[in-house]
């Protein structure tokens, strides 16, 4: 693909809001992870699940970011996405104080956003009313929030972005797939810039579902992304957007080009045994990575570090490590950003891309499950491994 400029980052995460929060986390990943998982959940019922270990966007106050009014009926995912979008627009010098201040106009800015589970908290809230009271009592002003793409739709409405708005769902891989949407729509000149990324929120039903299939590491169970004896993922939430534009136009408007998105690859492998819907495939990892490198016109040795998808579920982590090693050899350092903020599905993919941009800008890649931090980061491979044999990869370079 023709490289695309990343000119801004917006971050809403368990380690804080804004790209500076990432820098603080990379300076000391271990204590950042402690902060992310150090408090009892406000979302998961502590009486029912006393050993739950989950991260939230702690202390998130919508009014600090969105003002006092107009967001009463927005759910958490929507607020996270709006704040991440606002952050990226401001970081890119496109908006300041709520006004468009660059040559990039609202008609030319779109949104390519991913979520794995959508506005699950809205759906849950309405289902509670429908099940326990009466379906006739559900709040009609909350109902539109249950539509999967509503949260991203609100980003366009709230920030007045009038170019196309696309939501992508592909499990853990969707935020990386948003790069493909963005590249496609920019190539067709359907917009001049996109917010690219996505997010997911922590909810009790999703936590319960993951717990039931034995996928979460609660209490004192070992949680160590990349380790063979890790007991599962830790659930989390978060959102991030990258402001992405054509390089020449970004430079012409005087924007800081933080990094360039240079390649995208994706692959699906059906399960070897038909019944195993949930499965990990190193072949899919290899094919997606090879595709992204080919698309970026880079050799495996050009990659300085991997922003991996390692989350703590051994079958998936080992498939990812195997696939990466098959393509890159065993010398390329591999980092696991999810070891800081846990598994937030589309949110984690978007945060990994934002991390890659900060590493290129000089932050120290981490925490690493293999290799030492390179002295200079010129090219990062970002991977996202889904639970069904779906894998996507993106190359971000200086």
């Amino acid at each position: 693909m023709r490289p695309l400029a990343v000119t801004g980052l917006g971050v809403v995460s368990p380690v804080g809001v804004g790209r500076e929060a990432l820098d603080v986390a990379f300076a000391d990943p271990a204590s950042a992870a402690e902060r992310a998982f150090g408090s009892p959940s406000t979302v998961i019922d502590r009486e029912k699940f006393p050993d739950a270990r989950a991260a939230e966007v702690w202390g998130f106050e919508p009014k600090d970011h969105l003002g006092a009014k107009g967001h009463r009926n927005l759910d958490r995912l929507t607020k996270y996405l709006i704040v991440a979008g606002k952050g990226a627009l401001e970081d890119a010098g496109v908006k300041a104080g709520g006004e468009f201040v660059s040559t990039l106009r609202p008609e030319a800015i779109g949104v390519c956003s991913s979520t794995a589970y959508g506005s699950l908290d809205s759906i849950t809230e309405l289902n509670l009313v429908a099940e326990l009271e009466d379906p006739r009592f559900i709040n009609p002003s909350r109902f539109p929030n249950t539509v999967i793409n509503a949260a991203a739709g609100y980003v366009s409405i709230w920030e007045d972005l009038r170019a196309p708005n696309a939501t992508i769902v592909d499990g853990n891989c969707g935020a990386l797939d948003a790069v493909l949407s963005c590249e496609t729509h920019l190539a067709h000149r359907r917009a001049d810039a996109f917010l690219v990324g996505g997010g997911d929120v922590l909810t009790e039903p999703l936590y319960l579902a993951m717990r039931r299939i034995g996928a979460v590491a609660d209490g004192d169970a070992k949680w160590e992304p990349g380790a063979r004896d890790s007991k599962g993922i830790r659930m989390s939430e978060g959102a991030a957007y990258l402001m992405v534009e054509r390089v020449a136009e970004a430079e012409a408007r005087g924007a800081t080009v933080r990094a360039r998105i240079a390649g995208y690859g994706t692959a699906f492998e059906p399960p070897r045994r038909e019944g195993n819907l949930l499965h990990a495939s190193s072949i899919a990892v290899r094919r997606a990575v090879e595709g992204a490198l080919r698309d970026a016109d880079l050799a495996p040795s050009d990659i300085d570090v991997v922003a991996s998808s390692l989350g703590g579920l051994p079958p998936f982590d080992s498939a990812e490590l195997r696939g990466l090693t098959e393509v890159l050899g065993d010398a390329t350092p591999i980092a696991a950003p999810k070891a800081i903020w846990g598994e937030s599905f589309a949110g984690a993919g978007a945060l990994a891309m934002a991390s890659a941009v900060r590493w290129i800008e000089g932050e120290r890649p981490g925490p690493r499950v293999r290799g030492e931090a390179p002295s200079e980061v010129r090219a990062v491979l970002v991977t996202a491994v889904g639970y069904y044999g779906n894998v996507s990869a993106v190359v971000i370079r200086a």
């Binding site: 793409n149 739709g153 409405i157 692959a267 699906f268 779906n390």
Partner: protein, 410 residues
Amino acid sequence: MGRVFVTGMGVVSSLGFGRDAYWSALVEGRSGVSEVSLFDTSNLPRSLGGEVKGFVATDYMTKAEAGRMGRCSAFSVAAARMAAEDAGLSADALAGDRTAVVVGTTMGEANVLGELQHAWIHEDSVRAAALPRYGSTLLPIHVARAFGARGMVQTLPAACAAGNYAIGFAADQIRAGRADVAITGAVEIIEKLEYCGFVRLGAMSPDRCQPFDLNRQGLILGEGASMLILESEERARARGATLLAEVGGYGLACDAHHITRPHPDGDGSIQAMRLALESSRITPDQVDHINAHGTGTSANDSVEAKVIREIFGDRELPVTSIKSMIGHCMGASSAMEALASVMTLQTGIIPPTMNYETPDPDCALHIVANEAREAKVDVVLNNALAFGGYDAVVCLARPGVLPEGTGEAR
């Protein structure tokens, strides 16, 4: 770069299964609307829907396969298998990494989620087997697995424009060389929470859907799946496929106005239609027919009429809305309509807008009222104007009609 063709189509609808059954019912003006049987409606003020009845998943897949998926995925796999057969493709002809699967939806496996939440709310035990069935991620995964497709697997939720988003995006990927063939379309099921939500929004008609009629009272929810096989020209010609239609360009726009109401001037919709024409490299006078979004709600139909008049003026351009027969299948609707549009190109017949009795001066269009009409149709615009101001308009045409460069990146 190159042309993209529809070479096969499959559909699961309230009017029947497979494109021939569906199409003949549309041409006859039959209604797929009946009393909803999927859940209890006795405490709701509405009870009708375009429900798919008599669907037997095992007609299209093994019992084991059917047991692993929700209703929404089962519709998708069934429609995809019918489409592949219609395209003359053998069971393994869609295997490999050059096949993309791109599926639109609004809510995906909403009923599986409903089951999970029912168990969670009532603190029953959750059946572990049901857990992996939730997640809209699974719609294209089930389809890809069924065919051994190994390329991209994406779900594009774009509310009621999802079908057009998926078809347009899949065509883009083939033109960009990221795939040679795509299984694409959209799917939706009627689900209780969604049904209640539309009731609460006051958007639902008590008896029938009357697009563009003065006395229209709202939409009727429907469900179904429509899947198309799209192929690059090279691949389609190499295997001697029948080219059913060419996918031209498409237009996307975003109102950024309100989450449920269309922009009063239809700004986004006008832009989406203009972009569809422009990217197809045609002018408004080359369009022969519009398969309208036409939901039967007061707001949509008058804005859509205004938009069509803004671009096409007074000219006698036949417009129809098949939602009068199958209801509003939400995410699936524009894919169901794409299938009808291709059949119109194939047969020269425009299906009727049923229940059209009293013209609305605010909707001064040339509606194909109550009876199918024969017409020479080379180019169709398929409209989808959705919640959140998601507008998507796809151009479909008889092979050989659209100019060089149609739908290509600029």
